[in-house]
Structure formats: structure tokens, C-alpha cells
Amino acid sequence: MDKKRLLKKLFYAGITIFFVLVFNYFLFRVLPGDIISMVSRNAKTTPEMIANLTQLYGLDLPLYEQFFVYLKNLFQGDLGTSFLYKKPVTAVLAGKILPTVILLGIAEIIAIIVGIIFGIVSAYKRGKKLDAGLLSTSLLLYSMPTFWLGMILILIFCVNLHWFPIGGMVTPGKIFITTWGEINDVVRHMVLPVACMALGMIGEYAITMRSTMIDVLSEDYITTAKAKGFSNPYILRKHALPNAMLPMITLIAINLGLIVGGAIQIETVFSWPGLGNLMYTALSGRDYPLLQGLFLLITITVILANVISDILYEFADPRVHS
């Protein structure tokens, strides 16, 4: 890819991130009154705290200067102090990143693999019973609110069958003799949230893969390949699949924002100690600094991930090079 396009993409991403920062600033400072009135809603606020905050955020300065103070604090990694945890927001966030990354990473990989297989089989058996079955399963999964799917899984596998623990990441208070025992415990806690997350995504991946695969299979070069006498699995692997994968890359990138939404729901239902659950906690306690920090972290991560996938797409699709 040439440098100009790359720079342009990075520039646009920079603008979007700047938008987010401005948006975030106005949302939390200007819209509901200033930060003082927000803090004052909390009964535990003391006059000293208010004086401190006024100084920290430069609330006695004109509005545009306040914005620069906000940017300065941000770049120094200061997102304020959480009302609920009484700790810096950055410290609270740092402890919750890993569980979310583990949950999303594993679920995403499973969903992509299963979704692609479902889609290929569906497209290949188009109009047959298997296709109808897979397609309706996918549509059903796609229409379900993710948190509700989680509630059903809990009902079946935790309450009725007692196969898995109901929530959390480790059994509270349990002392592990071996590392293996601890890993085993975490895995047992992880099965349902990961399955729920993956099931929520599989539907859309399968439907998209099916329709692009059908598109590709009706192309002339597939007919040509057949006429040349190649076997069906060979054509599928070497001619159809590489071309059908391109829209999937885009979809996976677009879905990143959606997956975050899914994580908030699933972590809430399964009390998984990650960023999503933290967002629910921050929301219930109206912990505005924490909510704002989470919003910034999640949004900027998704924007950056989109840029990266955009660049990867150009490498994957030789037509874009020219």
C-alpha cells in the first residue's frame, strides 16, 4: 500500500479520535451542568473535594482553556477518581482488561471458525434441508438478545444440570494447591460466557459467509474451474474460499463495536470481572468518571482496531494495491 493512502487513513482515524475526545468532554462537562453538580449528587462529597476538583479541572478558567486542561490530564493518563472504588480510574480499568480480552478473544476465534464452516456448508447445500436448518438457526441466534441467551444457558446448565458454576471467574475463597487446579477452575467458569458470546456472533458470520459464498460460486471462474475437471473440494478451497473471505474481514472489523456491546451484556449476566461488568457497575452507581474512562478506552480501542483491519484488508486484497 502506498504511503499516501496509509497516512490519509491514519489522519481520518486521528480526526475520529479527536471527535470522541471533544464529544466526551461536552457530554460529561457541559451537558449535565458541570462536574461539581454531578459530584454533589453524591451525599459523601465534602467542600474540600469540590475545591480540589475545581482546581484539578480548571473550572475557574474559560471554557476553551478548560478543554485544554482536560486534554492535558488525559494525555498524562489522569482520568479522574472513581466514586465507587475511591481509586484512580486508570488503576481500576487496568485490572479489568485481561479478563475481557480473554473472553472476547476465545469467543471471537470460535465464532469465526464455526461461522465460516456453517456458511460454507449452507452455501454448498443451498436449498437443501441442511441449509434451511443452518440458516434458521443462524437467524434465530442473530435475533436473540445476547443477555437473554445467557440467562437461558444459566437456567439449563447451572440451575438444572449443575454442570457449571453460575458466575464469576474463580470460585470465591477456594485455595488451589496446584496451578493446574486453578486453571481448571477458571476454565469451568469460562465455558458458558464464552459459549454465549460465540453463539451470539455465529449467526451473523454464518449468514454473511453463506451469501458471499453463493455469490462467488455463481462466478464464471468457478464454472471454468469445474470445466477444467478440478474436484469440488479443490475448487472450494483454492478458488472460492479466498475470494469469499474478503467481505468477512470487513464484517469482523465492523463487528468489533458490536462485540463490545455483547461483552457488556454477557459479563453482566455471568458476573465476569471484566470491563463490561465494570461498565454495568459504573452505570448502576452513576460513577461518571469511571463511565467516562470506560467509554474513552472502549471507543478508542475500537477505532484503532478498525484502522488496523482496514490496513490488513489492503494487504489481503491485491486489487486495492493498484
Binding site: 481520518y12 480526526i15 475520529t16 471527535f19 470522541v20 457530554l27 460529561f28 451537558l31 449535565p32 437467524l139 434465530l140 442473530y142 435475533s143 436473540m144 438478545p145 445476547t146 443477555f147 437473554w148 440467562m151 437461558i152 444459566i154 437456567l155 447451572c158 440451575v159 438444572n160 453460575i166 453463493i214 455469490d215 455463481s218 468489533l256 463495536g257 458490536l258 463490545v260 456491546g261 457488556i264 451484556q265 453482566t268 449476566v269 461498565m279 454495568y280 452505570l283 448502576s284 452513576r286 461518571y288 463511565l291 467516562q292 470506560l294 467509554f295 472502549i298 471507543t299 475500537v302 477505532i303 478498525n306
Partner: protein, 292 residues
């Protein structure tokens, strides 16, 4: 001239209605949706229970019986009655949010496509912004700040979900703008607002029809999710609010399936109906897809 146009439009609508009947997906979808709309309109009149009346302590979280077909919730309220009154709230929020979202999306798409240049560039950057930022955190933050009322929920869903529509409308506007009849109208001295409303909008409309139905599905899901996360309006009991109360009071771990399964099933049925209709409309209105 005008009567010929009207006649043509009538014939097109008739043809469309015929195809909806023939197309299995569209038929099942509209039948399901019709059922829920009827329930939303007439249901509350037919229900023998007062939804807001709490039951006795002995009636709390009772499994289905002959007296309460779907059992009772943690307050001793009849789940079926609750479910029926929830239909009205959920469908209304979905419809109004969709209307708002389509309005914003169409306006921005047409103006960006028709005006072009700087206006297009600025509007498309804003669209990209809304397209790329994760919708649920954005909605949660907005709803938390605006406060929990049913109108805020509608507003929040509306202003976070229009970006896709704007893109589609803009692309279509760009192609319509280049057509000769627009050029002729311009040379006759028509203003740009007149052209956008009378010439571009009617040509863009068929394209956004399928999109509208899919937005409606997303709006219903969004309302359910926001309410579940505690951002719903406590005085308007939607299906999402039911699920919120069920989760908060531990109905899941208590195994009270009759409390949280029905509202979820209703959401799935409505969303599925919209999705089926969306796909079917796309197939009917988009002749390219039909051959496949």
C-alpha cells in the same frame, strides 16, 4: 400527467403487495408482526388483571397455574398481563426510534449527496464517527446522562443508529443527481430544497424501505438491552424492563423460567419478524437478488 403517475404508483404498490403474499418470508414476518401490533393495541383492554397492582405475599413468583397462565413475578403480578402491556411500550419505542433514525439518516444522506463538496465531507466524517464508535457504550453513556425516561430512550436509539441509512441514501442520491431529469429541473429554475424533496426523495425511498425494517429490528433489541441494563423507564413496563426485574431479583438462579422466558421470546419473535421482512423486501425491491 399526474393521474398517470398516480396510476403507475398504485400499480407498483399492488404488485409489491402481491409479492409480499407470495414471498414466504415476508408473509410469515408480516403475520407475526400484525399479531403483536394487534396485541399492543387491544391487549390491555382484554386483560383481566391490573398490571400495576401488586399481589399478596403468597402470590409471589408462583409457577404457571390455571389462575395465572404464565405464573406471577416477584411482586405477585400476573406475567401474562405484564407481557401484554409490555408489547405496547416495546413496539412504540421501536417505531418512534426507527422513525427518528430514518429521518436523520435520510436528511443527512440526501443533503450530503446532493450538496457535495465541503458539506458532503463534513457530514460523512460525522457519519463515519457514528458508524465506528461502539453503539452500546455510547447509548449507555447518553442514557445515563440524559436520565431514564421513555422519550430519552427513543432519542438515544434514534441519534445513535442513523449512520448506515445516511450512507445508503447518500450513494443513491449521488446516482439520482446525475440523471437527466434533475438537470432539466435545475435548468427550469427549481431550488435545491425543492429538488431534494420532490425528485430525489421519491427515488431514494424504495431503497431505504428494506433498511427501515432492519433498523426497527435493531431498535427493539436496543430498547430491550438498555432497559435490561437498568436504563429503562420504570413507569413504562417494556419487555426489557421485565427482563431487568427478573435478572435483578434472581429469577434466573431461582429457576423461575416463566418469568424471564416469555418476554425474551416475544422480543425474538418481533425481531425475527422484522428481519425476515427486511430480507424479503430486499429481495422483492432489488431485482438483482431475485435471480440467485
Amino acid at each position: 400527467m399526474n393521474s398517470v403517475k398516480m396510476e403507475l404508483r398504485k400499480r407498483k404498490i399492488k404488485e409489491f403487495a402481491h409479492q409480499v403474499r407470495v414471498n414466504k418470508m415476508a408473509f410469515v414476518g408480516s403475520l407475526t408482526l400484525g399479531f403483536f401490533i394487534l396485541v399492543a393495541i387491544f391487549g390491555p383492554i382484554l386483560v383481566p388483571f391490573d398490571v400495576m397492582k401488586f399481589g399478596l405475599a403468597t402470590e409471589m413468583l408462583m409457577p404457571p397455574s390455571s389462575q395465572h397462565i404464565l405464573g406471577t413475578d416477584d411482586m405477585g403480578r400476573d406475567v401474562l398481563a405484564y407481557l401484554i402491556s409490555g408489547a405496547r411500550v416495546s413496539l412504540m419505542v421501536g417505531a418512534l426510534a426507527t422513525l427518528l433514525s430514518m429521518g436523520i439518516g435520510t436528511l443527512i444522506g440526501i443533503v450530503a449527496g446532493y450538496k457535495g463538496k465541503v458539506i458532503d465531507n463534513v457530514l460523512m466524517r460525522i457519519t463515519d464517527f457514528f458508524l465506528v464508535i461502539p453503539w452500546l457504550p455510547l447509548m449507555m453513556v447518553l442514557a445515563a446522562i440524559l436520565g431514564t425516561s421513555i422519550w430519552n430512550i427513543i432519542l438515544v436509539i434514534g441519534i445513535t443508529s442513523w449512520a448506515g441509512t445516511a450512507r445508503i441514501v447518500r450513494a443513491q442520491t449521488l446516482s439520482v443527481r446525475e440523471q437527466q431529469f434533475v438537470e432539466r429541473t435545475v435548468s427550469l429554475g427549481a431550488g435545491s430544497i425543492h429538488i431534494m424533496i420532490h425528485h430525489i426523495l421519491p427515488n431514494v425511498f424504495p431503497l431505504i424501505f428494506a433498511n427501515t425494517v432492519l433498523i426497527a429490528a435493531a431498535a427493539i433489541t436496543s430498547e430491550t438491552t438498555l432497559s435490561f441494563l437498568g436504563l429503562g423507564d420504570p413507569s413504562h413496563a417494556s419487555w426489557g424492563m421485565m427482563l431487568h426485574y427478573a435478572f435483578e431479583t434472581g429469577a434466573t438462579s431461582a429457576g423461575a423460567y416463566w418469568y424471564f422466558l416469555p418476554p425474551g421470546l416475544c422480543v425474538v419473535a418481533v425481531v425475527l419478524a422484522f428481519t425476515l421482512m427486511g430480507y424479503a423486501f430486499d429481495e422483492i425491491l432489488n431485482p438483482k437478488l431475485k435471480e440467485r
